[in-house]
């Protein structure tokens, strides 16, 4: 009893600090959530915290912002477009990066280090620099305005980081595992599919979350390569077009943020399971 109590007591300050930091991080999101369910006039006049003293007085809330957004023409189409863009743009780069990272980590071939340094070097190239040349190439190839074009663009933008992250993770797997696999007659493919991939679930899951969020939230790349026409515009473009040219109706964006946040949250929480389990599974068993 007493050792446990003293343990709890000694952890108490840490918990306080952690809870405090958690609250601090949550504050902007809570503010946004409250603003999104307040009438626009109230938002203009008083801060979101003014609802706190009478938090359960439902008369100060309204779902009008949400109704207005979900009722807007073409919302379902925009959602479909976002999925059409995001899912392949997440899977393709991760699949390619996994192969590449395995090769960089475990296969001996000339120029391996140089190639890897080049890939890492690409991390610092800002994507804005590539917009014009790439769009020019797309025009020649007839890829501008197509989904294939934007998948390739996102794949290119996502690859350097994905390769870098996965190579480091693969590289940290115990060498003995691979050596014994090779001794037992495993080919590189078997080693990759049977050993490297299953052991890297946490890395793959976190990478998938990163890439998914980045593509889902992207506005610029879609605007440049796809264009903003209704037929192909993803959710981000559709939502930004709800606001007038000088920012009138900006209050709609508070609700829009939560609507576009919903799917990434689902992805995060469903992948988080693998994430945590993967980390535990990785803790060496001799």
């Amino acid at each position: 009893m007493s050792p446990r109590l003293s343990k709890t007591l000694s952890r108490f300050p840490i918990h306080i600090v952690l809870i405090g930091m958690g609250l601090l991080w949550l504050t902007p999101s809570v503010g946004l959530l409250i603003s999104s369910i307040r009438p626009p006039d109230a938002v203009n006049q008083t801060g979101w915290w003014t609802v706190l003293p009478r938090l359960f007085d439902t008369s100060q809330y309204t779902l009008r912002n949400y109704q207005e957004i979900l009722g807007a023409q073409g919302m379902a189409l925009a959602f479909r477009n976002s999925l059409l863009i995001t899912i392949p743009s997440t899977i393709i780069p991760i699949a390619i990066a996994a192969f590449a990272a395995y090769a960089f980590a475990w296969m001996e071939f000339p120029g391996r280090q140089v190639l890897f340094v080049i890939v890492v070097g690409l991390l610092v190239v800002p994507l804005q620099m590539t917009l014009i040349p790439l769009l020019r190439a797309y025009n020649r190839l007839g890829l501008s305005g197509t989904f294939v074009g934007i998948w390739l663009a996102h794949t290119g933008y996502g690859l350097p980081f994905a390769v870098y992250l996965l190579r480091n993770f693969f590289g940290s797997l115990p060498r003995d595992l691979f050596e014994s696999a090779y001794l037992d007659g495993a080919s590189e493919f078997t080693a990759f599919f049977r050993l490297a991939l299953p052991l890297s679930v946490p890395a793959l899951a976190s990478l998938a979350i990163f890439q998914f969020l980045w593509v889902w939230n992207d506005l610029l790349v879609a605007l440049i390569y796809l264009g903003g026409t209704e037929q192909v515009a993803p959710l981000t473009l559709k939502l930004s077009s709800l606001v007038n040219s000088l920012g009138q109706n900006w209050h709609l964006l508070t609700a829009a943020a939560f609507i576009s946040m919903a799917l990434p949250l689902v992805v995060f929480f469903s992948l988080q399971r693998y994430f945590v389990r993967g980390i535990l599974a990785g803790s060496v068993k001799g």
Partner: protein
């Protein structure tokens, strides 16, 4: 176990993505039909519209056979969104019905960056709606724009648009654009009910304006609401103040010299305009929330206290588009009204300062030409005028088309203005007009020394104008 599940998941995702890929292939062909669907917005009689839709597509194909370059759809890039966008789409709808040519609108508020990229990459939209003539000149100088005087009926244009508008849309003797949506910036908004309750009169001269402001302070109120915050563009509402004052203290000729940097920023005429602005904006008693309030309030939120009871402030100088930011439920003519920004030096009268969006053309296709001609005609402008939030520079647009009396008065002021000048900061090089001028206003209101501020702007102007 978990591996197998993961594999199932992974292969499932791959399959899904392949299916999606297959679905996505025919995109280019689909565009045509959907664009027409876009036009259906807010029309309750969907059944009839659907029939028309079919028809339209048919017509499009016929047109395509006749003219090889045609695509049946005109792409338009612009900054409009929300109800502006739906009003514009409605205005174009009769055109689509009549000609079978659809319009695909791409909206982005970051127009300059997107347009530059697309133009450089050789993939410009057919038409673009630019928020000011500055960018038009750059694009025209680079040879990216199609001069429209080659195919437009110039006589009608000259009859419908004041020469000043045509000059602003021209570069090197050729006409490149048509002004479409105007904002009248020389307006002071007030709350008639509050004025009546306190027994205040609408001022007709600058001296009366200052006298009224002093009176309001003496009565324990605050005369002005000013908000300069606007994200990366913070400071621009102040530049409108200074431009409006310049027109009234120095006259249009000096104003033009100022725009073209033929007089330095340290010129006494410019300095005086700043000082008169400072007389109001830097006066802690005059402005709601003091100078801190002026600097930190979002321009769109700043007029809201005017509608409080008792009023937080009594007057707000801002362009006609500010009504879009007014709280919901306030009624034009009852809860708010405007008076023209009063004259200062009698000889210069009451000029009108304004801004406007203009339409330019990148691809010379028969459809783009037709749409351009249609947009320059009164019909689509009258449709939007009926929806509200729109003022046309076109003299042929009937004043009866405007939604309410107030908008009609604003439009009247624009078309009948003896002296009209375009927003100076929009005409100056971006480094000044969208840079040091904005930050200069913020520094000045924040308490910086005026001479130092003007010298700093002058230094940046000398670089920007290439002197």
């Amino acid at each position: 176990m978990s591996h197998r599940k993961l594999w199932v998941l992974f292969s499932l995702l791959i399959t899904v993505s392949l299916v999606l890929a297959a679905c996505a292939q025919p995109t280019p062909q689909v565009v045509k039909e959907t664009v027409v669907v876009t036009q259906v917005v807010e029309k309750p009689v969907e059944v009839t519209k659907v029939v028309e839709k079919e028809k339209t597509v048919e017509v499009t194909k016929v047109v395509e056979k006749e003219v090889p370059i045609s695509r049946g759809v005109v792409t338009v890039l612009g900054v409009w969104g929300g109800d502006e966008l739906s009003a514009f789409q409605e205005a174009v709808f009769p055109f689509t019905e009549e000609t079978g040519i659809g319009m695909a609108f791409e909206g982005t508020r970051d127009l300059a960056a997107v347009l530059t990229t697309r133009v450089e990459a050789g993939n410009p939209p057919d038409l673009a709606i630019l928020p000011n003539p500055g960018q038009m000149r750059e694009l025209a100088a680079a040879g990216k724009l199609v001069p429209i005087d080659t195919f437009m009926d110039m006589d009608t244009l000259k009859k419908n648009y004041a020469q000043a508008w045509l000059d602003l849309a021209s570069y090197d003797g050729k006409l490149y654009g048509v002004f479409y949506k105007v904002a009248n910036k020389s307006l002071v908004w007030y709350n008639p009910k509050a004025f009546e309750a306190a027994g205040y009169q609408v001022p007709t001269t600058w001296d009366e304006l200052i006298a009224l402001s002093d009176q309001i302070v003496a009565d324990g109120g605050t005369p002005w609401c000013i908000g300069l915050e606007s994200g990366a563009a913070s400071g621009w509402p102040g530049t409108d103040w200074i431009e409006d004052i310049m027109l009234r203290t120095a006259g249009p000729e000096v104003y033009d010299k100022w725009v073209n940097h033929e007089i330095p920023w340290t010129d006494p005429a410019i300095k005086r305009a700043w000082e008169l602005f400072g007389q109001i904006a830097r006066n802690e008693d005059y402005v709601y929330g003091g100078t801190t309030g002026v600097l930190s309030t979002f321009f769109g939120d700043s007029p809201a206290p005017m509608f409080d009871d008792p009023p937080g402030c009594y007057m707000h100088r801002q362009a006609s588009f500010i009504t879009g930011f007014f709280p919901e439920g306030v009624v034009a003519g009852e809860d708010y009204d405007f008076f023209p920004f009063p004259p200062i030096d009698e000889q210069w009268g009451t000029p009108v300062l304004g801004g406007a969006d203009l339409i330019v053309m990148f691809n010379d296709t028969p459809e783009a030409r037709k749409l351009m001609e249609y947009l320059a005609s009164p019909k689509p402008q009258e449709i939007w005028a009926g929806k509200g939030g729109f003022i046309s520079p076109n003299k042929a647009v009937s004043l009866d088309a405007y939604k309410d009396e107030l908008t009609r008065k604003i439009a009247q002021a624009v078309v009948s203005a003896e002296v009209f000048r375009f927003d100076a900061s929009d005409l100056m090089p971006a480094a000044v007009g969208a840079g040091s001028f904005w930050t200069g206003v913020l520094d000045y209101v924040g308490g910086a020394d005026l001479d130092a501020v003007l010298e700093e702007i002058e230094a940046s102007a000398q670089d920007a104008y290439g002197q």
